[in-house]
């Protein structure tokens, strides 16, 4: 602990000295004006962080990391947060820092690590993932994109969907079928390929909520070098299972605590709906449903705390992940519906001057939030997992 404290001070001092003042209060990922100074400072800040290896601080120094422990990495996050600073590299690297990198560290050859990891850790190379296909949604293993062995290369043909950021990424990790004769889980491999080639075409997907980072990605004789096969040939299913665990891990860790100055839903309700003389919400029917949602939200938060405590600080997501994902989905989707109901006709606007920015934003969030129960293992798939893996009930309808 004493060491960590010393480390905290060291980190804090470095941030104070290096975080560009122009980026104070800047929020990554939000729209808005960015000045030229800010843009230049952002690049400067990225370089400084990358130099320290703090883009992916737990990775080995030789691959662009800082070789730090997880508690030390947490210190960096905390010290950044304290100062309103941030680490832009995980976002710039797309799926690189959170998912591809850790999997390459585990399954990659030394040569692959040397070639791919530093670009991720510095935030210079953005990665996307080509996993789902139009006819392989929850049943990922039924994917049809073929990779033909052509000497030094695989040649890929097929269509991927929901490839987030495909249109702006430099590299892609793709799940492909390398053996059409084997059982469906046994003929899959994980390859890596550059996006800037003739055989790759991307098309952004418009969602019910509007523009989105998702794309359809078409492979027409796209080329992946055999030296970019990750893991063994036809062992891609194990690679992807591990990669998806990293995804869940990152989802659990990336929860940003709600800022305290955000209006509570009950205060929003009082503002739009009004109160009775005794201070209770004027709409008793709404109040009944609202309190249930708030209680469910509390129960969810307390469960995260409990599971973290039980694991003595080591978040073991695998056991509880499905319960928490579904509980989070239920709470958030219901909350979005309630907020819409609270806002009344102000809550169903699409555009225009009559609506406040947060009202319009809420409509888009509500719509986009419908995906929470679909992506990353649908609500139903999570219940299959709980039923089978946690409760030990036989599953007649699904292979894993």
């Amino acid at each position: 602990m004493a060491d960590l404290e010393a480390f905290s001070q060291e980190v804090g001092a470095w941030i104070d000295a290096n975080f560009p003042a122009s980026l104070n209060g800047y929020e990554m990922g939000l729209e808005g004006e960015v000045s030229e100074t800010q843009q230049a400072d952002m690049e400067l800040w990225r370089e400084r962080l990358a130099e320290k290896g703090w883009g992916a601080p737990t990775w080995p120094v030789e691959y662009g990391g800082a070789g730090l422990t997880h508690p030390e990495a947490k210190v960096i996050g905390r010290e950044l947060g304290k100062r309103g600073a941030f680490n832009p590299i995980p976002m710039l690297a797309g799926m690189g820092v959170t998912m591809v990198g850790p999997t390459v560290l585990e399954y990659g050859t030394d040569e692959q690590k040397t070639r791919h990891l530093p670009g991720i850790a510095s935030g210079e190379i953005r990665w996307c993932l080509g996993l789902s296909e139009p006819n392989a949604g929850s049943d990922l293993a039924s994917l049809a994109t073929k990779a033909d062995d052509q000497g030094d290369n695989f040649v890929l043909n097929g269509q991927k969907i929901w490839t987030s950021g495909a249109d702006i990424s430099q590299w892609c990790g793709a799940l492909v079928r390398t053996d059409g004769q084997a059982k469906k889980h046994d003929g899959i491999s994980f390859v890596m390929l550059p996006m800037d080639q003739d055989g790759v075409e991307t098309r952004p997907i418009r969602l019910i909520s509007g523009a989105s980072p998702f794309c359809e990605t078409y492979f027409n004789d796209a080329v992946a070098a055999k030296s970019d096969l990750l893991g063994d040939l036809n062992d891609g299913w194990n690679v992807i299972k591990r990669l998806l665990q990293h995804e869940r891990q990152s989802q659990t860790n990336s929860r940003r605590p709600e800022p305290e100055d955000v209006e509570t839903i009950q205060d929003t309700a009082k503002r739009y709906v009004g109160t009775n003389a005794d201070g209770t919400l004027a709409d008793a029917d709404l109040r009944h449903r609202l309190v249930q949602n708030i209680m469910a939200q509390q129960a969810h938060s307390l469960t995260i705390s409990r599971i973290t405590a039980e694991a003595q600080g080591q978040v073991n997501v695998s056991a509880a992940a499905s319960i928490l994902k579904n509980s989070n989905t239920r709470v958030a989707q219901e909350r979005a519906e309630l907020t819409m109901e609270i806002m009344g006709t102000q809550g169903v606007g699409w555009e225009g001057h009559q609506f406040k920015r947060d009202e319009l934003g809420h409509v888009r969030d509500w719509l986009f939030g419908k995906a929470m129960s679909i992506y990353g293992g649908s609500y139903e798939v999570q219940n299959n997992i709980i039923s089978k893996n946690i409760l030990g009930l036989p599953e007649t309808t699904q292979k894993d």
Binding site: G137, I208, D285, M343, T345, G349, K370, I374, Y375
Partner: protein, 372 residues
């Protein structure tokens, strides 16, 4: 479906065929993407007038067919299935109802024929804030003997952009009144209200608008009762459209369950989804009974129209709420794309919920009507 008369059956078939061929959801999408200001395609509306649907509720003496509310519901259901956008409901149903229930025979004689021939497009302007609250109107109508002055601001007015006349609910000498205000009168201004279901809603402001005393639709009797009845009839009709929207969402979902394969099987063979479909179907059947019974109660001049209207709006609303969410959920990723129609149904569902009072409003009202 309720047991339909032969006439009703023929109209249902006609509406179904016309809507799915001439005004399907793809036409609505096209209208949305092209950004038509009125929120509907003119030819759609002209066809409806031609088919005589604008006269379904209008007495024969004024050129209508006087076929009743269940009959209109049959048509609305088919339009709801295809998300067909038009001022039919606002004008030929809600406004025609306001006239039917009016004691002002001069206004009837003037307006009914023009509602039928489509030269008047009328719409009811009642809401003033984010929540339906017709018993606390702030818009005022004041009389100086000869003429009436209307002042106030209305919002969430359906078809406000294409309307030629507004039927404005306002307080009037200790009561409430409904007043017919031509859209081109001095002091009337309107602006588009772009809601997520891409129709022609608007905000409408009445700035000391002078109208003739003859525009008052309830010169005798209780104006508040008049407004309540108009709203109850409107709520009931709306449930027919909502039911159609939900029924189409169910049919789309059922077809997907029957054809989409995952893990080597059609997904409808997974018991959890099969049971969910069974629950949705049951909810739809139960909701249908409420909607149809409420329409029949109006036709039978029953004394429980208010209860039935609130029952139907709450129950159909609950079904449509659940169904529209499951439409997306069961379709998975494809349901999230704008290219697929599911989102259009979901958005429409959430705008129709608050119109004339949401589920909670009507549950509360129903309980009050039952005395608890």
């Amino acid at each position: 479906m309720a047991l339909l008369s032969e006439e009703q059956s023929i109209l249902k078939d006609q509406a179904k065929a016309w809507a799915s061929e001439q005004a399907p959801v793809s036409a609505f999408r096209e209208m949305r993407d092209s950004g038509v200001a009125t929120g509907y395609a003119a030819p759609t509306w002209e066809s409806m007038v031609e088919m005589g649907w604008t006269g379904i509720l209008v007495p024969e003496a004024y050129g209508g067919a006087d076929l009743g509310y269940l009959t209109f519901g049959v048509v609305l259901e088919e339009l709801g299935r295809q998300l067909t956008a038009s001022p039919l409901f606002a004008s030929a149903y809600v406004s025609a109802t306001a006239l039917r229930l009016s004691t002002n025979t001069d206004a009837q004689a003037t307006l009914f024929p023009r509602l039928v021939d489509g030269s008047v497009v009328a719409t009811l302007a009642v809401d003033e804030g984010p929540h339906h609250n017709p018993s606390n109107l702030t818009t005022t109508a004041t009389s100086d003997g000869g003429s009436i002055t209307i002042s106030g601001a209305k919002t969430f007015v359906p078809e406000a952009l294409g309307a030629t006349h507004f039927i404005v609910a306002a307080t009037f000498s200790g009561d409430v009144g409904l007043f017919v205000v031509p859209a081109d009168k001095a002091g009337v201004s309107r602006s588009a209200l772009a809601l997520m279901d891409s129709r022609g809603y608007g905000d409408v402001t009445f700035d000391g608008v002078q109208i003739d005393a003859a525009a008052h639709l309830t010169p005798s009797g209780s104006g508040a009762d008049h407004l309540t009845a108009v709203l109850d009839f409107a709520r009931t009709g709306l449930t027919a459209e909502m039911l159609g929207t939900g029924a189409q969402a169910f049919d789309m979902t059922l077809e997907y369950l029957q054809t989409r394969k995952q893990f080597g099987k059609v997904i409808g063979s997974f018991q959890a989804l099969g049971h969910r479909a069974a629950e949705l179907f049951s909810a739809m059947e139960l909701a249908r009974s409420c909607s149809e019974a409420a329409l029949q109660a109006i036709d039978a001049d029953a004394d429980n129209v208010a209860e039935m209207a609130s029952l139907a709006k709450a129950q159909v609303g609950e079904f449509l709420y659940t169904m529209s969410n499951q439409l997306i959920q069961i379709h998975g990723g494809i349901g999230m794309t704008d290219e697929f129609d599911a989102g259009l149904y979901l958005k429409r569902a959430r705008v129709l919920d608050p119109l004339y009072g949401n589920r909670g409003f009507h549950r509360d009202r129903y309980a009050r009507l039952l005395g608890f």
